[in-house]
Point group: C2
Chain length 155, copies 2
């Protein structure tokens, strides 16, 4: 029994904030003010679900409506996405990437990914394998906010 869930948790708790900080700094560092991580995530989400509503974005990101509303404001002002009323249900919004938004997202993604790849280059093949497997497992577990949200119960 080599690794308990508790040990895994301790390791995750040590490593993840370090990596996150590096990602944040790298994204912010890019010219053209650059995107914050949450902004970037909104763009990525909209790229996968064109025309999503504000509620859907909030749900997907695990944030409140006012938070998303304000962030969307900023992205609309920067012409990275459009915010239109859904004709079928006038309460709902339809959010879509603009071409500029799509390109910003791609650029930010590529730059950050390149930066990370550079930092990860020293890893041995076996470590890369382990990393891929571990990240996939983490996405499985933490990628579904609706699942075991602890505080919100099972609805």
């Amino acid at each position: 029994m080599p690794a308990s869930a508790a040990q895994c948790a301790r390791q995750v708790l040590e490593a993840v904030p370090l990596v996150m900080r590096a990602i944040r700094r790298e994204m912010r560092r890019q010219r053209k003010p650059g995107l914050s991580v949450p902004q970037f995530r909104i763009l990525v989400m909209l790229n996968r679900h064109q025309g999503a509503s504000l509620s859907e974005v909030a749900e997907h990101m695990g944030l409140t409506l006012p938070s998303i509303s304000k962030m969307v404001d900023g992205l609309v002002v920067r012409d990275l996405l459009t915010r239109e009323t859904d004709p079928g249900d006038r309460r709902r919004l339809t959010l879509s990437l603009t071409p500029a938004g799509h390109s910003s997202m791609q650029t930010a993604y590529a730059a950050t990914q390149t930066y990370l790849a550079g930092r990860l280059e020293t890893l041995a093949a076996s470590e890369r394998e382990a990393l891929i497997q571990a990240m996939a497992a983490l996405v499985d577990i933490f990628g579904t906010p609706a699942a075991g949200k602890t505080a919100c119960g099972k609805k």
Copy 2:
């Protein structure tokens, strides 16, 4: 050649923000206002380096002096740490955990670690192995802000 650094980077970029969000929410969720992740990290750092100066904390966390100064303000007000002038060099501060600070840190750590362990419990043994190995590698790479900071060059 199973996993390129680029693939690793993509996986990290997908997984890490998800996990980070979960950690943040869990820490914030704890009663007694609870600690933010940066506050928690300051307490952990001081636990390992009792009596560190503000500059040392800033260096260790990769943040600026004003940022740390303000966060320390809040922690001092909450009686989680003490801020004293170093008698040997009156410009320097000596930061130390109070008993309350130590206990807050322990509590936050235990609760978050328990939460994560619960989420990670479904992992197979091999996945846990991979996770441990991967996290250790990430700490190696991203745990030394002085190293390859990209923007700041080499010293």
